[in-house]
């Protein structure tokens, strides 16, 4: 199969020669020609990493595209994709693009109702799914979803007796495709050549914190020009390694695992299952890595918990060298001056602690890592950078094909998101809203002209809805969603996300929701992190029976109060925000969950929903009650619902500075 020229393309990252390739199918053909023997994708299956070269990938796409054509898929059709990150699913997207169709990857953990909405809205006639579970889900939806005609599945297990004529296995489609290809020579080449850069490449449904998901239409030019710019900016080459483990429905995965890989020619590996990601990462050793802050945080929490259980010598060594790293690690990474002794200790620490630690986490070879989506805690950020891992923040959105701003090497700070990425213009509107214009700006929202007009101006500027400003050194700083920024009754600025992030930077607090707009003071609802607090409770010899019990314990309240008061002390030092210190808080009896509609699928808090659902609690926070009884409906993973009831205490927190006086008045 891999019969292409044996010589590898010399020196990676040279994108000049393929400047003409303006669609993914063309890039694939190009890659199969110039680097046909290099690995394009890998997947761990049966315990072994299986690799496919670019030539093999092209071969697969050729057959599958022809198979789709045989089944009647053509220009303007939509192919829905549901499943884990699998090479075949990525290739099926490109196959649809070959035929002028549009792939719509979907979140596979969505409940049937959400899926049905997207399928209907996108008018998907074809769907490709991973296994029986997804087939069953779509069969259930299909009755209510008349547009859906054909289902293709990857894993035949358990499906042998499903006799529906519209159900095909990938292998069967490939077989049909090979026959079709034989009978229609030149079909594939012609189809590939017909695609043009400005054509619609993909539709991504954004979960959105309000309302129905919107279908963001991105063209080949959007994705490929953005990818070219960033590949050049970050010096990505064909020998880089990437692990594709984030949902395929998310724009980031399409840029990192598809667009940038096709442009730079690097290999993308798919983990064996979602539970084995950390092991697989260690085996692959990615050089280019993306993770949302939550994942970095989880890894750090695990490391810290395990260090607590380590022997005394190891623990002492770890803490000593982590102190050294905190002092000078980031400075060494940024090539800034560092005292000689620290440099010496750091070198020793690299051998004894940092190196082995990075190795265990699978980060040894990481040359460049990005994080985005939420603010990252300064402690977490510094931890990784001080180990010598080049983690940087970026600010992006689906509407921008990810990149708006990125942090340049050597100018990385935890509280900004960097300078505009190559090819992107950013401006701050008078209202304080961040706006941008770039080659990556989306075409439109599918079947939603009104929202498109509200979001995108005539001359191509996109209104992000985020409030932010440029700091003196030209770095963008994001405070919050513009519409969420409010005012307290005494006139102080209230930026809920800013406060919540500060709270969530404590490992014990997993979620926080603050209230204060048009109120006298700020109040918060907090959710504990069961793992971190559970471990803490164990060390305190505190017995508990479950989440609700643990989060209601007085000692846990005390623990949370310390966190809240630290945030207050921090806020007191900022004249603009000193008035928004948190006076009262309570610990919620359950975790906020996407299944209950409290979070989006990307785990952002749906503020209006939470405010409505927990209206009683919020009123109690602004009354002089010191406890409240709640009953809440919870949705289990299998779709059943149940009730949890609890008696929630409400606790006061100390405030600092000028704000302390009105606080007392309020309480009396």
């Amino acid at each position: 199969m891999a019969g292409q020229g044996a010589e590898n393309a010399p020196g990676g990252g040279d994108t000049g020669e393929s400047a003409a390739a303006d669609t993914f199918p063309k890039l694939l053909v190009e890659n199969a020609r110039t680097r046909g023997d290099r690995p394009a994708m890998r997947e761990k299956d049966y315990g072994i990493w299986q690799a496919w070269t670019w030539a093999q990938a092209q071969d697969w796409v050729r057959a599958f595209a022809c198979g789709l054509a045989e089944l009647g898929f053509g220009k303007g059709d939509t192919l829905a994709i549901v499943g884990d990150n699998r090479p075949q699913l990525y290739w099926s997207m490109v196959s649809a693009q070959v035929l002028g169709g549009t792939p719509v990857p979907m979140y596979q953990d969505s409940v049937a109702e959400e899926m049905q909405y997207v399928l209907e809205h996108a008018g998907a006639r074809f769907a490709i799914v991973e296994d029986q579970e997804q087939v069953d889900k779509l069969l259930e939806i299909k009755e209510r979803c008349p547009t859906l005609e054909t289902l293709i599945y990857k894993d035949p297990r358990g499906l042998r007796h499903y006799g529906q004529p519209f159900l095909h296995s990938i292998d069967a489609v490939i077989e049909k495709g090979r026959a079709f290809d034989q009978a229609n020579p030149g079909f594939f080449e012609k189809a590939v050549a017909e695609g043009k850069g400005p054509d619609l490449a993909i539709m991504l449904y954004t979960s959105g914190t309000t309302g129905r998901p919107k279908g963001v239409m991105l063209s080949f030019d959007n994705l490929i020009i953005t990818a070219r710019n960033t590949v050049e900016q970050d010096g990505l080459v064909e020998t880089d390694e990437m692990l594709a483990y984030l949902p395929m429905a998310w724009v980031g995965d399409n840029i990192f695992s598809l667009a940038q890989s096709y442009v730079a020619g690097f290999c993308v590996s798919c983990p064996e299952s979602s539970e084995t990601v950390l092991t697989d990462m260690r085996e692959v050793g990615p050089t280019y890595f993306f993770a949302p802050p939550r994942i970095f945080e989880n890894i750090l929490t695990t490391v810290m918990i395990r260090m607590e259980d380590a022997g005394a010598i190891k623990r002492a060594m770890f803490h000593f060298f982590m102190d050294v790293a905190r002092r000078s690690g980031s400075r060494i990474l940024d090539a800034k001056p560092v005292p000689f002794m620290d440099r010496l200790f750091y070198a020793l620490g690299r051998v004894l602690v940092y190196g082995p630690l990075l190795n265990v986490l699978g980060f040894s070879r990481v040359r460049l890592a990005y994080t985005a989506g939420e603010a990252i805690g300064p402690d977490i950020f510094d931890f990784y950078r001080s180990l010598g891992m080049n983690v940087k923040q970026l600010y992006g959105s689906t509407e921008a094909s990810v990149f708006i701003t990125t942090q340049p090497d050597g100018q990385v700070k935890p509280d900004t998101v960097g300078t505009p990425t190559k090819g992107v213009e950013v401006r701050i509107a008078e209202s304080g809203e961040v706006q941008f214009r770039s080659p990556g700006v989306f075409m439109a929202y599918y079947k939603n002209e009104e929202t498109t007009r509200e979001t995108k101006t005539e001359d191509g500027w996109v209104l992000t809805g985020d409030a932010g400003f440029f700091s003196d050194d030209g770095h963008l700083k994001i405070i919050d969603r513009a519409k969420d920024v409010g005012k307290l009754n005494h006139g102080t600025l209230f930026a809920p996300k800013y406060l919540e992030n500060k709270l969530k930077f404590f490992p014990y607090i997993r979620e926080a929701v603050t209230f204060g707009h048009q109120r006298d003071y700020v109040a918060a609802i907090l959710c504990i992190d069961l793992e971190a607090v559970g471990n803490w409770a164990e060390r305190q010899n505190l017995a508990y029976s479950g989440y609700t019990d643990l989060s209601g314990q007085p000692q846990v309240y005390e623990l949370a109060r310390e966190c809240v008061e630290k945030v207050n002390a921090d806020l007191a030092s900022d004249p603009h925000l000193a008035g928004s210190q948190i006076r009262r808080f309570l610990m919620l009896h359950k975790e906020l969950d996407a299944d209950d509609g409290e979070l989006t699928r990307t785990r952002k808090v749906r503020r209006p929903f939470v405010a409505e659902k927990y209206g009683d609690l919020i009123e109690a926070l602004y009354s002089d009650q010191d406890s409240i009884v709640v009953e809440a409906k919870v949705t289990f993973e299998d779709g059943r619902t149940g009730n949890i009831s609890a008696d929630l205490k409400i606790s006061d927190a100390k405030t600092f500075g000028e704000d302390a006086a009105p606080a007392l008045k309020q309480a009396s």
Partner: protein
């Protein structure tokens, strides 16, 4: 699956195992008396009954651990004489146990590899040295075991010592080890005991998939009536060592003797 009306039309084969007039007693205790039934190829057969009805004893007779004083067991057309459990294993009968019987200190992969033991042809010395033919053989077995790991979706615990695993997963590993022997007939002794609803659903799916994909005949003991009625093709009911009913689930469900046995009626 049932929701879609997709329950497969199964082709049951001929008689795979035939038990005739089995009686087994331990001293004065009669564990089984004159029990007869047939297991057809490709069938899922459930043996049910109240505690102490003789279900596990029956299973132990089938796999050669107990030797009934009376009666005959005919397996694949051959009526057996005295036999040992390892003979049963060599003939393609594998089983799992009511109390998990795994090697706690070994990882999942190694535990399942032990199930391949009877299939390994190379001698002990070559295996120890891990040379030539033994190496090649080991790789073939590893491939087979990886198929099972994939099938049971336990990739993430491949290298975890089984003693550290939760109960439901240990049960799944044990099923994996039994499958590694490529059995024609699989005996499952309470495969779902102590599991929560989700784990039970998973286990049902694996059992049906094994039956369907590999064509393995399954004999299982189970207390959860919902499970039994859902997944089995044929049910044998024992009470005080006697067979009181034998038939398809719908039929057994309405049998008065069975209802009495479960609700408790005084035995004169």
């Amino acid at each position: 699956m049932a929701a879609n009306g997709l329950i497969p039309q199964k082709k049951e084969g001929g008689v795979l195992l035939k038990a005739e007039d089995i009686s087994l007693s331990f001293g004065g205790v009669k564990a089984l008396s004159n029990v007869s039934f047939e297991v057809h190829e490709h069938q899922v057969l459930a043996i049910i009954g109240p505690n102490g009805a003789g279900k596990s004893s029956m299973l132990n007779c089938i796999n050669g651990f107990y030797h009934p004083q009376e009666g005959r067991i005919t397996y694949k057309g051959v009526t057996r004489k005295q036999m040992k459990p390892h003979d049963a294993a060599a003939q393609g009968i594998a089983r799992t146990f009511q109390n998990i019987a795994l090697f706690k200190g070994m990882n999942t992969l190694d535990n399942i590899m032990t199930g391949r033991n009877l299939k390994m042809k190379r001698n002990f010395l070559l295996q120890a040295l891990y040379l030539g033919p033994a190496l090649k053989e080991e790789l073939e077995h590893r491939e087979f075991v990886e198929n099972i790991i994939d099938f049971l979706e336990i990739e993430h615990i491949r290298k975890t010592p089984v003693g550290k695993l939760p109960y439901g997963l240990q049960k799944r590993v044990e099923l994996g080890r039994a499958l590694a022997a490529e059995p024609d007939m699989l005996l499952l002794d309470e495969p779902m005991a102590g599991m929560n609803l989700e784990e039970k659903q998973d286990m049902c799916r694996y059992i049906l998939d094994v039956n369907d994909e590999f064509g393995t005949t399954i004999v299982l003991i189970e207390h959860d009536m919902g499970v039994v009625m859902d997944i089995s093709d044929h049910v044998v009911v024992l009470d005080y060592g006697r067979k009181i009913a034998d038939g398809p689930p719908e039929e057994v469900r309405t049998n008065q003797d069975v209802i009495d046995a479960y609700l408790g009626v005084s035995h004169d």
